[in-house]
């Protein structure tokens, strides 16, 4: 399988406190990878390093076999898109304006969007299901709709890998499912890879190909969802008791009372 990102012994610290303590990771084309772990396990930091927003303090990070710090930022932006956990909009832009910003890496410093950029942006909004919101201001729509707007912006970037930090936090069950289906569709149709941090251990089984389980800045376990969703592993990582049940070949995870 073609590897896009390959990281060895990645370490990172904020003000002396070590957040990532030697992570080895490899991301292949067309895979949906979930990053799980308790709060503070280092999920967000790992994602920011993978998309080049933060530089690792030590270790190697190769992007298509080139060290990421030598990859031009704009070139990288055409291939990797990132949606953070806390969304900022700064000013009341319209939804369409935000989605069009996903085209920025393709547009020169003194150029405006071309017709093709508009087409891509509109297509991205349709894909995500927010085309009807395009003229609304981001300050006037709901938190979930803002999340979908950011997602559409990331889709409009036409990346080969999307890095999403809890993409479904503010979404209700229906929208959550739709987002996961959308990611799966992007994977199937365009061979996009997705790396998503999530707390939702229940949806993991249906949509994710691989799971990386972080604990205290290290990889505690990795593998397919079936390999990860085991009572002893989840109990160790989340520090609460869970029951994992199998019924008709499906796995259910329940908190133990």
């Amino acid at each position: 399988m073609e590897r896009i990102i390959e990281g060895q012994d990645i370490r990172f610290s904020y003000d002396g406190a070590e957040v990532l303590r030697g992570i080895n990771i490899s991301i292949s084309k067309g895979r949906i990878i979930g990053v799980l772990g308790a709060n503070g396990a280092g999920k967000s930091t790992l994602l920011k390093i993978l998309c080049g927003v933060l530089n690792p303090k030590s270790g190697n990070l190769l992007y298509n076999s080139r060290e990421i710090k030598y990859v031009d930022k704009r070139e990288a932006a055409k291939r990797i898109s990132y949606v953070p956990q806390n969304l900022t909009f700064g000013f009341p832009f319209t939804v369409a304006e935000v989605v069009l910003m996903g085209r920025a890496p393709y547009i020169g410093r003194f150029e405006f969007e071309r017709e093709t950029d508009w087409k891509v942006a509109i297509h991205a909004m349709e894909t995500v299901g927010i085309a009807h919101l395009q003229d609304r201001l981001v300050t006037e729509i709901s938190g979930g709709e803002r999340q979908l707007t950011s997602l559409a912006r990331a889709v409009a970037q036409e990346p080969e890998i999307m890095i999403l930090d809890e993409p479904a936090t503010f979404l209700d069950v229906k929208h959550k499912t739709e987002v996961m289906r959308l990611l799966k569709r992007l994977k199937d149709e365009k061979n996009i890879s997705v790396v998503a941090a999530t707390h939702d251990i229940f949806s993991v089984l249906f949509y994710f190909d691989e799971i990386i389980l972080l604990k205290d800045g290290k990889i505690f376990a990795e593998g397919s969802p079936e390999e990860i969703l085991k009572e002893e592993i989840l109990t160790a990582v989340y520090e609460i008791g869970v029951t994992v049940k199998k019924e008709n070949g499906k796995i259910f995870v329940l908190p133990m009372e």
Binding site: K48, C51, G52, V53, K73, R74, A76, A77, I80, S81, Y82, V83, P84, N86, L87, T88, F89, G90, F91, P92, F93, T94, E97, V98, M101, G102, A104, P105, I107, R109, F110, F112, E113, W118, R153, Q157
Partner: protein
């Protein structure tokens, strides 16, 4: 409307507006209301008033208003906050203190061909931006409360220092300083306009070259970075360019307040928030606004001229309060 078409249309309309305001201003004043007489009669006195007093003054008003407005828009993008402006952040105060120190030290008129007053203004401006920005930005987010407080406190500090310097000045110097602090355009000749432009043009051009990055920056430091913006460099360009532009103007005119707050805000209400449109349009509307305000300040109490700073600050103060009340939806911490 697509962004490009919107920009071109707005620039056209605003340029026309400026031409009208400038023409009206040139022919309005304490002396002689008849334009034709000024141009075609052989009256030397009239010609002098028009070509050596009024036209430079209108040009200076345009340069100063445009530069302050565009700097305000850029600072708002940097702070992600519509209340940021040269005046509210204490940058004007810093520039004033720098200028007054240079004047009082009696430094030579020029250093390497640049006015030493402007250079001192610039140093104090850039220091103020760096200080206020680092104080008000916590964990990558600018808190409105911290921003306003930092600006207010810096302004207090600079006022105190300016008063301190004044205290040791003689009566005439003191009077000059007070007159200058009010902000006015009445000491302008054509040479002054050029001297201002030497700094103001590069400042404005740098800001205009990064308007696209400013839009992406609105989505947060991390997203901007992931979209290809070098956030650190963009921030430094804004510090440098706004300091340059603001100090160029203020070292000549004194602190003229609130242009940088009102103009970008008015434009955003009509044109939306795209910085690629807001920045260039701010320059033109700022130019018209200050020219109009100056015309009012020259004529409202004829034959007495009041400093234009009083007119802009009184409009701006009320506007600022109104803006603050409208922002009630946002959390002010």
């Amino acid at each position: 409307m697509k962004a490009k078409k919107k920009l071109v249309t707005s620039l056209g309309i605003l340029f026309l507006l400026w031409i009208i305001v400038a023409v009206v201003s040139v022919f309005t004043g304490t002396y002689e209301m008849n334009p034709f007489k000024a141009i075609f009669s052989g009256d030397e006195m009239l010609r002098t008033i028009y070509f050596q007093v009024r036209i430079p003054r209108v040009l200076m008003a345009a340069v100063a208003g445009g530069t302050l407005a565009i700097s305000g828009a850029a600072l708002q993008a940097l702070f992600r906050n519509p209340l940021a402006a040269p005046f509210t952040l204490g940058i004007s105060g810093g520039a004033s203190l720098g200028a007054i120190i240079a004047i009082r030290l009696g430094l030579g008129e020029t250093v390497l061909g640049f006015s030493s007053i402007t250079i001192f203004s610039f140093i104090f401006s850039i220091f103020t931006i760096l200080f206020v920005y680092s104080v008000s930005k916590v964990h990558g987010v600018v808190a409105t409360g911290r921003l306003l407080l930092a600006g207010v406190v810096t302004n207090f500090l600079y006022s105190a220092l300016i008063l301190f310097i004044q205290f040791f000045s003689d009566f005439i110097q003191s009077l000059q300083t007070i007159r200058w602090i009010m902000g006015s355009l009445d000491i302008v000749e054509l040479g002054t306009v050029w001297k201002t432009l030497i700094f103001a043009i590069p400042g404005c051009l740098i800001l205009l070259s990064i308007t696209k990055d400013m839009n992406l920056f609105a989505l947060g430091d991390d997203v901007a970075s992931s979209l290809g913006v070098n956030v650190g460099i963009m921030e430094k360009k804004i510090y440098f360019a706004t300091s340059l532009a603001v100090s160029a103007v203020i070292s000549v005119t004194g602190p003229i307040g609130f242009v940088g707050l009102i103009i970008p805000h008015l434009l955003r209400m009509i044109l939306g928030v795209d910085n690629r449109i807001i920045l260039p349009c701010s320059f033109l509307l700022g130019a018209s606004f200050l020219t109009a305000a100056d015309t009012i300040s020259r004529t409202i109490f004829t034959p007495i001229e009041i400093p234009v700073g009083i007119v802009t600050a009184s409009c701006g103060g009320v506007f600022f309060l109104w803006l603050l009340m409208r922002m009630k939806k946002e959390i002010i911490v």
